[in-house]
Chain length 300, copies 2
Amino acid sequence: MSIERVAIIGLGLLGGSIGLAIAERAPEIVTTGYDRDPDVRKAAAARGLTNILLDTASEAVATADLVILCVPVGAMEAAARELAPHLPAEAIISDVGSSKKSVIEALGAALPGRTVIPAHPVAGTEQSGPNAGFPTLFAGRWCILTPPMGTDQAALEALSDFWTRLGARVEMMDPDHHDLVLAVTSHIPHLIAFTIVGTASDLEEVTRSEVIKYSAGGFRDFTRIAASDPVMWRDVFLSNKGAVLEMLGRFTEDLTALQRAIRSGDGETLHELFSRTRAIRREVIDQGQDDSSPDFGREH
Amino acid sequence: MSIERVAIIGLGLLGGSIGLAIAERAPEIVTTGYDRDPDVRKAAAARGLTNILLDTASEAVATADLVILCVPVGAMEAAARELAPHLPAEAIISDVGSSKKSVIEALGAALPGRTVIPAHPVAGTEQSGPNAGFPTLFAGRWCILTPPMGTDQAALEALSDFWTRLGARVEMMDPDHHDLVLAVTSHIPHLIAFTIVGTASDLEEVTRSEVIKYSAGGFRDFTRIAASDPVMWRDVFLSNKGAVLEMLGRFTEDLTALQRAIRSGDGETLHELFSRTRAIRREVIDQGQDDSSPDFGREH
């Protein structure tokens, strides 16, 4: 089984990057695209995000052998229901959502009997929309597939090959475990960043202009993450509620312990933690998940 | 009053960058350097961080008209006491510490009757030590001076001119207000980053290797900040305890409110906050405090 026609539904950062990555790395695959926002379709056409851009989702998927839903996880079920009557019988249906249990439920309900293989490429930037995508977004990043029990092996291999061709490294995972791992490595970091940026902008004693001016002390890195797409992230937190609340509980326990250490002047506890965390950074860099240049190689 | 001889005590990231910035932007100033660690002195000599490197602090400051203490804030008083008998009568004593009330107390106690003008250049990277500095660290960054009441105006202007020549923009601030502003824009972001990186590495359900692998989802940005110098940061939290605990209280209140919104499925509250925080990012970029390229311009 080989993938020759890919339909991309939703042409924001992820959908657009998939289209551009196919054009660059697998140009024999024909891509069709659709976005429900006419302005996004216009911008997508201007950038050539897909080979063919269509004005209805039904036309976009009509001849596809892989359909990728690149919409916020909260919009997944409605998008799938709209497509259902128009999908070719053999098509693989996949997505790029950041939570997987909820996507499996949504797509299972909307597309009974179809070949549904949820996927999550762990890649992105703080920008969104049809002008944000670029062809190398997935290079060297992991793409996690969470195939339901009984998934057709040929279809799974075809999807895995597809992501490998776009530059990603593919891993299989149980959806529950995926949601827990991503709660830690992605959802909680985003929640914390959104919170502290909100806290800082609401203070009475410190002006917003001061917060911006002196943001080079650490705060500015949080503003990048807190600039991520609001709708996408709202949906992530609501759809991965259990794992997010569980991990948030662990985080606040640890924060309370540090608060106590600061209050009681326990420098040893602080120093011990701060030394351990430094080692993690080295591993992130050693494994190619970040840039080794100091300060992210910002120009000085 | 003009500054012609600068003594740099402590040759890590900040001290080294000051030496290199002087060499590049104000080469007529003669720099002397000292670090209590002989290995650091050796590395500093090899990189030419100062014009003259000395084996004792007393020799390094003997003819200086500006002495800059670039040591962790907890080591400030001891360093100042060691220098006190050797300081020229007219020398300005300054520092680069991240908390200012505690530094004023420490230097006031150790150097009664001296011209002490604390300073905080809001700039740095996650790296530390004599090999971490570079001459453009302060370019476009703010340097906050917190002159005590009755500071000699000529000395204050000389120090202000000095930092301006190194590329920084200079601002005066009351030390209490400095400590509150920096608690928000720097200390709390660091504390949160140290905490979440620690939390993630201590989980039983998610392996450390998974945390590293999928760190591109947001976590990796926190690892950069959590790789900062452990001794420096231990001292910052202990020396700015009041403001840090106050701001931490605000943050955890806001985090609790978001936790409640997630638990109750209140998407509107989440969306409203996430939209506001995006606007802050634009201001940080507009004011030149960060890079506008997506994902910090990481190579893809």
